[in-house]
Amino acid sequence: MELLEFARGPGLAIALALFAIGTVWRLAGIFRRPVKPDYSEPRSTALAAGALRAIVTRMWHPRNFRSRTLVGTLNAYGYHVGLAIVFFGFAPHIAFVERLTGLAWPAAPAWLFAVAVALTFIGLFYALMVRLTSPVLRLLSNFDDWASWAITIAPMVTGMAVIMLPIEQGYPASPASPVPVAIHLLSFELLIAWLPFSKLAHAFLVFVSRGYTGAAFARKGADL
């Protein structure tokens, strides 16, 4: 079996299965834990609204902390938005999704894609630099942090190798250079397989943790 054939077939299936199983397993690990009843008299019973409010408002840092967290927050937004545009806005990626799901949408203009690529690389390297130099982050960092960084940037790096090749629109069955495409696809598969088992799971855990705190604070009528 050719490498590209493996990446498009069993490799992708295994990665998607790991992603699904890992996500379900990790969430189940949380939701199987008991919930103690809270008999205190609530100041508000709008707990779902509190959870939703926390999920939305925590997307931006509170004013009092802005001077200390603005650069980090902007940088995080830079590479998160950049990654989203790169994944969802590039024509070959849309063709890849269309082949799997039948869903398609217009591609981002070339200039926006170029900006997104730049933002993502700059943001990820800035994040790495801060993690390497900040005493707080050096203390907190473990294997998950370093591996997650490397696994996140890997599809960007391998994607650059593919994009150096003559651009082929769509998702050709037999690309002119199958090996770089296969490596790019495998690096993406590694990312989605790794995601639920690592800190990258914040992609879905963020709703759970923010939601619980938002509901608890709403119950007390406390600002969050």
Binding site: Y39, A76, L139
Partner: protein
């Protein structure tokens, strides 16, 4: 190992009330093999780990933002005071023993088992350098309630017998005598009698029935007795029938602060049973921050059912009584800055009550740079003020408070927590600071009008 309880004499002469500075520290209680301590800690940890705590343990992205909210980190720059780092052995234990991939971590040896040495090393981080003020919760992009997790970690530390000497001693005294600072029922009765005579104020005690049960903090009873008088004046003027009960009057809960759930429950139940016995409709909590957390938000859970009475912090009672016209006050043409006790405001949701009271007094409120739910802790909450070895760190954190209050230029500085007040008294003495922290309750009592 633990020393006998009578080896911990109280120090009631210093600006900060605690036990005397121990000549030899006993930060490891009891005589047990380390393996037993670990099992006990593990059991407590497992028992506590509900759904929300598990979600929090899974969610940290190691961004380090929480450090930027912590007064201990901000004033020292020491990364070990990063709030989430204070939970590191507990995260390690969770991931190895209870998390969704615990079996993988164990099978592949990816997480080492937590050791007693580790927990001992973390004692300073879980107790001395965390007031559980919850400012870190406000900054966390994942919304992790780090302060709540530290409270759970303390349960495990207590079960392992790894509580700082002073905090263990005052908690044990509170459980044994009914008060951490020697305010036994006999002492309380004598004080109330003396105060009633000296201040010519009626203080009903042990009435069979009353609409309101008044409770106190032992810091008020022993250090700020004018607060007891102020409580009596306010309640007498409110028109409610009220009483103090010698069965349940001590609102501080060092069971909760030290991490002993059984003691926390027995301390809460004394108040609850006293309120039920006199058929109170309202239990008024004193100017004490953690008392509010302990009874208002955790009291019913200690009982195992909803409380048959309302629990109000005294600032809420004042605001409600001023709003309803039960209390009237003479205006006071002054400017004041207000220090929000973390457990009442940020963690308790009663941020507006003191502001409503100050507005009723006509006081010009000059907010500090960070106020209300974003307020900086005084540094003495969570039992930290009792721990002598934490004094240098606490004093560093206090520098933020002095700078922010001075910047307001207000004549008055007020708060609604006796523990904050004594932390301010201690900081004032240490730094030779000119400003005195006053009581909101005492201010209102002095301005009562017909």
């Amino acid at each position: 190992m633990s020393a006998p309880a009578n080896d911990h004499p109280l120090d009631l002469e210093s600006p900060r009330f605690s036990i005397e500075k121990p000549a030899a520290r006993y930060d490891k209680q009891g005589e047990r093999p380390d393996a037993e301590r670990l099992v006990a800690a593990q059991r407590a940890f497992g028992r506590d780990f509900g759904r929300a705590a598990a979600a929090y343990m899974e969610s940290c992205i190691h961004c380090g933002n929480c450090a930027e909210a912590c007064h201990f980190y901000l004033t020292t720059g020491d990364p070990k005071y990063t709030p989430i780092w204070k939970l590191e052995p507990f995260k390690q234990a969770y991931k190895r023993e209870a998390g969704p991939f615990a079996w993988v971590y164990r099978a592949l040896g990816l997480k080492r088992a937590v050791t007693v040495e580790q927990l001992e090393a973390w004692q300073e981080l879980v107790y001395d350098s965390c007031t559980m003020c919850g400012r870190c919760t406000q900054i966390c992009p994942m919304g992790i309630d780090i302060a709540g997790l530290v409270g759970l970690a303390r349960h495990a530390m207590f079960e392992a017998g790894l509580v700082p000497h002073e905090l263990w001693a005052v908690a044990e005294r509170a459980e044994r005598e009914g008060s951490p600072l020697g305010a036994t029922p006999k002492v309380l009765s004598e004080r109330l009698e003396w105060l009633a005579d000296d201040y010519e104020v009626e203080i009903p005690v042990d009435q069979p029935e009353a609409e309101v049960l008044a409770t106190f903090s032992s810091i008020e009873i022993m250090k700020y007795p004018e607060s007891l008088v102020a409580t009596a004046k306010v309640l007498n003027r409110s028109g409610y029938t009220w009483t103090v009960s010698t069965r349940g009057y001590e609102a501080t809960n060092f069971g909760m602060l030290s991490g002993n759930v059984a003691w926390q429950r027995s301390m809460s139940l004394k108040l609850i049973e006293a309120a039920i016995a006199c058929k109170a409709k309202i239990l008024v909590l004193p100017e004490c921050g953690h008392a509010y957390s302990a009874l208002r938000w955790q009291g019913a859970n200690m009982l195992g059912r909803p409380l048959p009475f309302r629990v109000l912090h005294i600032s809420e009672f004042l605001a409600e009584s001023l709003r309803s016209g039960r209390l009237k006050v003479r205006p006071l043409a002054m400017a004041a800055a207000f220090h929000d006790p973390c457990q009442i405001s940020r963690r308790g949701g009663a941020t507006s009550a003191p502001r409503e009271v100050l507005a009723a007094l006509g006081v010009e409120l000059r907010e500090t740079k960070d106020a209300g739910a974003r307020n900086f802790c005084c540094g003495g909450g969570g039992g930290v003020v009792t721990i002598h070895r934490a004094d240098p760190l606490r004093h560093k954190a206090f520098e933020i408070k002095m700078a922010q209050l001075d910047a307001t230029g207000a004549e008055l500085a007020l708060t609604s927590c006796a523990n904050c007040r004594q932390t301010f008294d201690d900081g004032r003495a240490h730094f030779g600071w000119r400003r005195e922290m006053g009581s909101l309750l005492e201010l209102v009592a002095g301005q009562l009008a017909d």
